[in-house]
Amino acid sequence: MAFLEIDGLKKRFGAVEILKGIDLDLEKGGFLVLVGPSGCGKSTLLNTIAGLETITEGEIRVDGRTINDLHPSKRDIAMVFQSYALYPNMTVAGNIAFGMEMRGVPAGERQKAIDKVAKVLQIGHLLKRKPSQLSGGQRQRVAMGRALVRDPKLFLFDEPLSNLDAKLRVDMRIEIKRLHATTGTTIVYVTHDQIEAMTLATKIAVMRDGEVQQFGTPAEIYNNPVNLFVADFMGSPAMNLIPATIGSNGSGFSVVMEREARQPISLPLGNAPAGLSAFQGKPIIFGVRPEALTDPEGAERNASNIARADCHIEVIEPAGSDTFAVTNLGGKAVVARLRADAKIQPGTVTPLAFNLTKAVFFDPATEKRIV
């Protein structure tokens, strides 16, 4: 039995269905990231777990106990908000202790708890300040401290890093990861940033329009997206999704991509998924991640199925650690990830290596993956 179980959860505002039947579960000590574009219902889902919003149908269980109708304060959870939601009229210490105060914890014990948390988060020197006197990162720490001090069964994070600048965001991400590793608490984390999702999660739920599109480990989500949306949403730069058709070359299938003013590229598929046979001669979406589309020298040595094709390079983007090259296939800009020192000039024609082991195919009609 999982630690957090969500069964058939639905949420309606009047006639509008915000959550359309969510089923998720998370093991004890797991780190679940809810990710998706804004308006997908991820924050609503988090709020229903917190008890800040009621649910219309379904059940939420924590540690085997149904918490559907419990008041937020009785669910044994803690939550960190996007804006941190620090009480402006209280000091840092007051903020951290407020929950305990509400529960009638004696002052002495509260002080002890505050000191402990302050030590862990290194905010001891801030305890007497008001939130308005803190920097963004400090506020973030205080918000986490307020959550930590409760030692809850479940931590909820609502886009906690989105108000920080880029560098601080990375630092805090690591901090959260470390926190998770050392305390072993169970965490549900909402973000629209797929890097956060990939780096932090033990489980990811990709959401869209109130539905879970895919639920699995980061690797599953990344490598085996179930549909076009997940494929497109996860990963940066995003997966190349190229309109193509399936041809056959006697021994097997090939994927054929149109090009402007050039011969179409045809790549032979060694280990095509079984479902592809139904699409012979029909259009499909060919998905290949930028890192599976490289210069031949940088290609993965032990990949079993690598195909080469000459491509016309339109733009080069040196990014330091890598160089991205943009070409045009099937009428779409396609990004290839090359080694940093790849010697390629824009406007030239260069052979690129397609790692077809990592390629995926989608049915344009259903947008589902062809397996």
Partner: protein, 314 residues
Amino acid sequence: MSAVATPARQSTGGISARTVNRIVIYGLLALFALFYLMPLFVMLVTSFKTMDEIQNGNMLALPQEPTFAPWIRAWSEVCSGLTCVGMKGYFWNSIKMVVPAVIISTLLGALNGYVLTKWRFRGATLVFGLMLFACFIPFQSVLLPMATILGSLGRFGVKLQNATGLTFGFGNPTVNLVFVHVVYGIGFTTLFFRNYYEAFPNELVKAAQIDGASFFQIFRRIMLPNSLPIIVVTVIYQFTNIWNDFLFASAYAGSGDVMPMTVALNNVVNTSTGVVEYNVNMAAAMIAALPTLLVYVLAGRYFVRGLMAGAVKG
């Protein structure tokens, strides 16, 4: 802060253009200050003049022989009806009515604003719209029906008194006035607080809920301590309106022992016959207006700040 750069900053003309500009601005500001001060000035100088000087002199002239006699008369001798104890006797009557009315209406407004923004329910907007529109009712048209209801409450008070020995304030004119001002004040106070709380982060309320704070604990510990600017605006607004009310006060609390300041002042100033002691009248008017003036002058700075903090939005 907007602080639109003064035109001079972009002009290339240098100091002279800038100086001219500043002179024009200060000149205009001073001119309008004169316009606003004029009635107060007339009242002030008149209150220090003798009657001779008033009848023979210029309205705007400074007093030739300043005298405090009118002020002393207004404070401790002037008559309202047959009672000649000066304005000082009515101060307490007004305070007794204004303070509870302001506190209750402000508190209710804050609670209503809190509910209407942080605990929204189906129809909350309609409820608010109805309460807001209520601000527009002309008070003259509620005078009589309200009197009828207050009368029944008073009779209920007599029954209570027979049963328990106490009226619990039913039928007491001061309590009645407090009630009336609260009823017709909550529209505005709710408007003020609702607009302010609309911009107040919801996440704070959510965090407090998770922290285990109850409905009222959130209000008392989180909302109220962060509402100072709007409390200032509301209190100033309510205080002046209630202090200055004449219609309800004269109709519901006209008798000498409970009469608020404005009714007494009206009796002093609005004499239908007899010699009019303008200097005493002006002094009495100044005395009656002193609390509200003081409130505006002392809290004026916070007033603008409070308006900034949300009262003026939508």
